[in-house]
């Protein structure tokens, strides 16, 4: 950093030296938990209002049936499954940052991993609503649980929808465990810094953590094992989600390309969501000393790489349709290009393949407005990618008699917009209840206090 640039300042006041000290980290991260101002409550009100509209829309759908959501054969999946896949995908970047980059010992991840992992949990909790909303009679949601019916007939374990239940519930469980285990030493720091009722609550949540050598020794090993388990899990989850499509015979879906295609797209959209959440968080909490331009630069590079891989998959998709020599595959693919949903196809291509190319320029990778606009475009593009797989795919099957288009209604649009509010309200609540930057992991990467001589970590 040159001298001309302003020193990174912490919210608690005072410029840091070149790097924050251990005490700085505690002070700055705990400062994010100070009682929020009016702006925060204003945001909460707006988000709460949108969420209420979503809940009302769902209530309407429960009352009047799935027709209210525009469901007509063959368009039985429409926007709910689109949004389900979208939200599951968002979660993947959080696990990538918290587990995969941990295994690669990428130290830059430490200050962003907590926020990203929280994003994962909340995204999966949002996604988890959609199969229930989509099922219509959601009071039978417990039928998803694998148990035999009264004739000892078990669920069909060959069905990708049953795999999905296993994959998503495992993903939610393991991510939550990993997230909470990561939080425990930080909650202990919170406990030690607070008084009264807060101290009692944080004290219980900290499980009596004291940072003894015994605790750390087993903690570190367990943490590494969680990361090692979460890494193949995250790849499997979106692969299984993709097999919901690829196992079906619908033209355009029945492809071995789908698993890597979905996993890559998931990570691509997830990184965009990380930027959308962390850039404002860094601004309002004044975390410039921890979430630096280097983090933004790295994430923009990851968006660029995953975006280029995605573009390659789009080309593969077209090539597969052409090279198959199969009439239905070709017709289905051509329908995406020129059919009634073509504008959305080209919007997807622009958002996912063209817009991220701007990150080839170094300046764009640290220019906040560019980062923000491209991230939002990527999120829009990735939502439409799933839409373009589901809706035009189902619209143009094998037989013209089964063709049918889908038009969104106020009810299903309301529920989907409400899902964004549900996600945001969880995240807004989280940043004021728990440290959204990991105190322990940030400390691990900064120089440890030593009296004599050099210390390396």
């Amino acid at each position: 950093m040159s001298d001309a640039e302003p020193r990174p300042r912490s919210i608690a006041g005072g410029a840091h030296a070149a790097e924050p000290t251990f005490a700085d980290v505690n002070r700055d991260v705990l400062a994010t938990l100070h009682p929020p101002g009016n702006l925060y409550f204003a945001w909460m009100c707006v988000v709460g209002l949108i969420l209420t509209c979503g809940i009302l829309a769902w209530t309407y759908q429960i009352f009047y049936g799935m027709g209210a959501a525009g469901k007509r054969t063959p368009q039985m999946w429409a926007m709910y499954i689109t949004t389900f896949v979208f939200w599951i995908g968002i979660g993947h970047a959080g696990t990538l940052i918290s587990a995969i980059l941990y295994l690669f010992r990428a130290k830059w991840r430490t200050s962003i991993y907590r926020g990203s992992e929280a994003m994962t949990i909340f995204a999966v909790l949002t996604a988890g609503l959609f199969p229930v909303i989509h099922a219509g009679r959601m009071w039978y949601a417990y039928w998803l649980i694998p148990y035999p019916n009264e004739r000892y007939l078990w669920p069909n374990f060959r069905s990708p929808l049953v795999w999905d239940v296993f994959a998503i519930s495992t993903y939610l469980t393991i991510s939550t465990v990993f997230f909470i285990v990561g939080l425990v030493p930080d909650i202990a720091a919170l406990r030690d810094a607070s008084t009264g009722m807060k101290r009692r609550i944080y004290g219980m949540l900290a499980l009596g953590w004291q940072g003894t050598d015994r605790q750390w020794r087993h903690y570190r090993r367990a943490y590494g094992l969680f990361a090692a388990l979460a890494t193949p899990l995250v790849v499997s989850v979106h692969s299984v989600v993709s097999w919901d499509f690829a196992m079906a015979l619908v033209p355009g879906w029945h492809s071995t390309l789908f698993a890597p295609f979905f996993v890559d797209g998931a990570i691509f959209s997830g990184f965009a969501m990380v930027l959308v959440l962390l850039i404002p968080m860094r601004y309002y909490f004044n975390l410039y000393a921890y979430i630096t331009d280097r983090h933004l630069d790295n994430m923009a590079k990851l968006i660029l790489v995953t975006g280029l891989v995605l573009t390659y998959f789009y080309i593969c998709e077209g090539f597969t349709a052409w090279y198959s020599g199969e009439h239905f595959e070709r017709a289905s693919y051509l329908f995406k290009w020129v059919g009634v949903y073509a504008p959305w196809w080209w919007l997807q291509i622009f958002c996912n393949s063209v817009a991220p190319l701007v990150f080839f320029w170094k300046r764009a990778r640290t220019h906040i407005p560019t980062l923000y606009v491209v991230s939002i475009l990527v999120l829009i593009g990735m939502w439409f990618e799933r839409f373009n797989i589901i809706v035009p795919g189902l619209a143009h099957g094998f037989y013209p008699y089964t063709f049918g288009s889908y038009v969104p209604t106020l009810v299903d649009s309301g529920i989907i917009i409400g899902s964004f509010a549900w996600f945001l309200i969880q995240f807004l609540g989280f940043v004021k209840a728990m440290p959204s930057v990991s105190i322990v992991e940030v400390k691990e990467t900064i120089p440890h206090p030593v009296r004599d001589g050099q210390h390396h970590h």
Binding site: P148, G208, W216, R217
Partner: protein, 169 residues
């Protein structure tokens, strides 16, 4: 002779590590170290020979294997309960069952890792050490020794000469 506890509070990693090494050289074995971050230095000093292993991984292995076995057992057993060929596929069709077995491997492996962490690290701990200092979650390091009352003076001197900011009982 009555055992007593002594706690040295250190501001630096190297001074605290030196204290642990000196204590071990004296033959003191019941040492507990506190730190805001996990430290290789502490672990090496406390064992006297490299990084120790943790039995947590055994929990993970056993959990994961139980998960794999139960995944295959559930799918194969339930398929055989309704012995009907559908879609021209064998009743026991292993490839799709791998998915269930894999997910259960991860699920039970992860849950058993959590159990292993609780057992080995003795969490949740209702009553930790009464000498714990809240600064140990911020920027101080602690070395806690359990020793005979007779040794107390010598150990206190040792901790101070290693660089302890304060020594408490």
């Amino acid at each position: 002779m009555a055992a007593t506890k002594l706690l040295g509070v250190f501001a630096h990693v190297d001074t605290a590590t030196r204290a642990i090494k000196a204590l071990r050289a004296r033959g003191v074995r019941s040492i507990a170290a506190y730190s805001p971050v996990p430290l290789d230095e502490f672990e090496e000093a406390l064992t006297g020979h490299g990084l120790p292993r943790s039995p947590v991984r055994l929990f993970t292995l056993v959990g994961a294997l139980i998960g794999t076995a139960s995944g295959f057992a559930l799918t194969i057993w339930s398929a055989l309960k309704w012995n009907l060929i559908t879609g021209g596929k064998p009743v026991v069709s292993i490839p799709p069952f791998v998915v269930i077995a894999f997910e259960l491997t991860i699920l039970l492996g992860g849950l058993c890792t959590l159990l292993g962490l609780f057992v080995t690290a003795r969490l949740p701990s209702l009553r930790g050490s009464s000498l714990y200092d809240p600064r140990f979650s911020e920027d101080r390091f602690g070395v806690e020794v359990t020793c005979d009352a007779a040794e107390r003076g010598a150990i206190e001197d040792l901790l101070r000469s290693a660089g302890a900011e304060e020594v408490r009982a």
